[in-house]
Amino acid sequence: MDNQKRIVRLDNRGLAPPEPMMRILTTIEDFDRDAILVANMDREPIFLFAELHDRGFAYSCDPEIGGGYLLKVYRE
């Protein structure tokens, strides 16, 4: 069930690259299928996408109305 998922939030706004990527990769290291990472980003983390793909994670990254991006990451 979706409401059983563990949501982990990260606010990466104000951080310079590659710190957002480092925080995300460190956070999801022990993620199982019941965990979702939701992160606020200043930039679209383009190099992170391939890292997530190679590690078996799915993701979405959408621009927010007020600026920045909302990234969601979960295990495939």
């Binding site: 069930m1 979706d2 310079a16 690259p17 590659p18 710190e19 990527m21 480092m22 990769l25 460190t26 979702i36 200043d42 930039r43 679209e44 383009i46 190099f47 996408f49 391939a50 890292e51 793909h53 190679d54 799915a58 993701y59 979405s60 990254c61 959408d62 621009p63 991006y69 969601k72 979960y74």
Partner: protein, 411 residues
């Protein structure tokens, strides 16, 4: 039960992203010039025509790199692919005319006009985008410096090409070494250093604070300025400028090693292996240029180390990452649910490392033989060219894996 996020399992909103087509085109053109340089160095030797084929490779790769990275790092506005396509095409035409001129065609005048116009437009357009960016003040400042150095180098180059094409009669050829120093040191090297401050930690998955101070980059920039300003006027000034350049390249090399030693990624990828070799060439090249202030025969060897080693191997190394990423991103957008090969496993590593070994050996042999004025330099160029072509083939094969990925491979 369907995952609530799975419907959005694509890489963001394509309309919000820089169109990668322009950068892909520019990188393909740049690699074609690099391959042409490798062929020319075997067929005709290290002529000015060959040298400018490699120059075209560096400049057009820089067009692609800046276009792709500016919006991501600085929030500068995204560019339409058509503009990048036009700039890369204009440089390609200008450099082709220039290279043809060095091989006997009456094209220097046209080359001067096309290259001067292309350089002025690209620099003006890029500076405008840098002003519109709001983040990464240090990245933008160094990029400004690199673009200013490029404009000065391109101006001198166009003036020399115009004089060769009888457009005017300027006594300007004595400034050819300043043109080379500004192009190699002020433009290409500073741009690579700037980009590396962000690329190396991202490629290595390492914290940026391990990558040292930006002061070393400005020391390199200052060294180039002092050396270029002192040329043929103050041998001491030239030497001081080159000492600063050597100190900066060693400092940046140490920072590079610190970053790699603190990385999370277990094994270095192919881009960073190329980077390690290239940074070593960079230190050798700057030290050789400094030694040239005592022993002038070191200057041509420094040129070989800088162009074939430092600049070319760095750009080829980064190209594995950028070409792979852009084509992977394109395939992922076309086929969101296809099971694509992981980028980490997509490079033909035996071919890529064989290419690196050949390029390293060839560049070292060519530089050493150039210094002792031995005709065996030719052997070094042949070995290098073989490695260079192998690297281009490895990058093309990487791109082909995603460009021609099958829809049938759906997960």
């Amino acid at each position: 039960m369907a995952d609530p996020f799975h419907a959005n399992d694509v890489i963001g909103n394509p309309s919000s992203r820089n169109d990668p087509l322009g950068s892909e085109f520019a990188l393909a053109v740049a690699l074609a010039f690099y391959a042409a340089g490798c062929v020319l160095i075997v067929v005709t030797g290290p002529t000015l025509g060959t040298l400018h084929a490699f120059a075209a490779f560096v400049v057009i790769a820089a067009v692609a790199a800046l276009n792709q990275l500016l919006p991501v790092l600085t929030h500068a506005p995204n560019a339409r692919a058509g503009i990048v396509f036009t700039i890369a095409s204009a440089f390609a035409i200008g450099f082709s005319l220039l290279i043809a001129g060095f091989y006997g065609a009456h094209s220097f005048g046209a080359a001067a006009v096309v290259l001067a116009t292309s350089a002025a437009f690209w620099v003006g357009w890029s500076v405008l985008r840098l002003f519109q960016g709001r983040d990464e003040r240090r990245t933008r400042a160094l990029a400004f410096f690199a673009l200013a150095a490029f404009l000065a180098a391109a101006g001198l180059g166009a003036a020399m090409a115009g004089a060769l094409g009888d457009l005017w009669a300027l006594p300007i050829f004595a400034l050819a070494p300043v043109h080379a120093l500004l192009a190699i040191g002020g433009f290409a090297s500073i741009l690579i250093i700037t980009i590396s401050y962000r690329f190396v930690p991202m490629f290595a998955v390492a914290h940026a604070n391990a990558y040292g101070s930006w002061g070393t980059a400005w020391l390199a920039a200052l060294g180039v300025l002092v050396a270029a300003g002192s040329f043929e006027r103050s041998p001491i000034g030239l030497r001081i400028g080159l000492i600063a350049l050597v100190a900066a390249s060693v400092g940046i090399g140490i920072s590079h090693l610190k970053t790699l030693s603190s990385r999370l990624r277990a094994r270095l990828d192919v881009s960073l292996r190329y980077g390690q070799v290239a940074w070593t060439f960079g230190i050798f090249a700057s030290a050789s240029a400094l030694a040239g202030t005592w022993q002038p025969r070191m200057f041509p060897a420094a040129l070989v180390l800088a162009i074939l080693g430092w600049l070319s191997i760095t750009i080829l190394g980064y190209a594995y990452k950028i070409v792979g990423f852009l084509t992977w991103q394109g395939a992922k957008t076309r086929m969101p649910t296809a099971r694509l090969p992981a980028l980490g496993n997509a490079v033909d590593l035996p071919l890529a490392y064989a290419a690196l070994g050949l390029m390293t050996t060839g560049a070292l042999v060519a530089a050493a033989c150039t210094f002792v004025e031995s005709s065996l330099a030719r052997v070094g160029y042949d070995i290098y060219a073989l490695g260079g072509i192998a690297a281009v083939v490895a990058i093309a094969r990487l791109a082909a894996r995603y460009l021609f990925a099958s829809e049938g491979a759906r997960g």
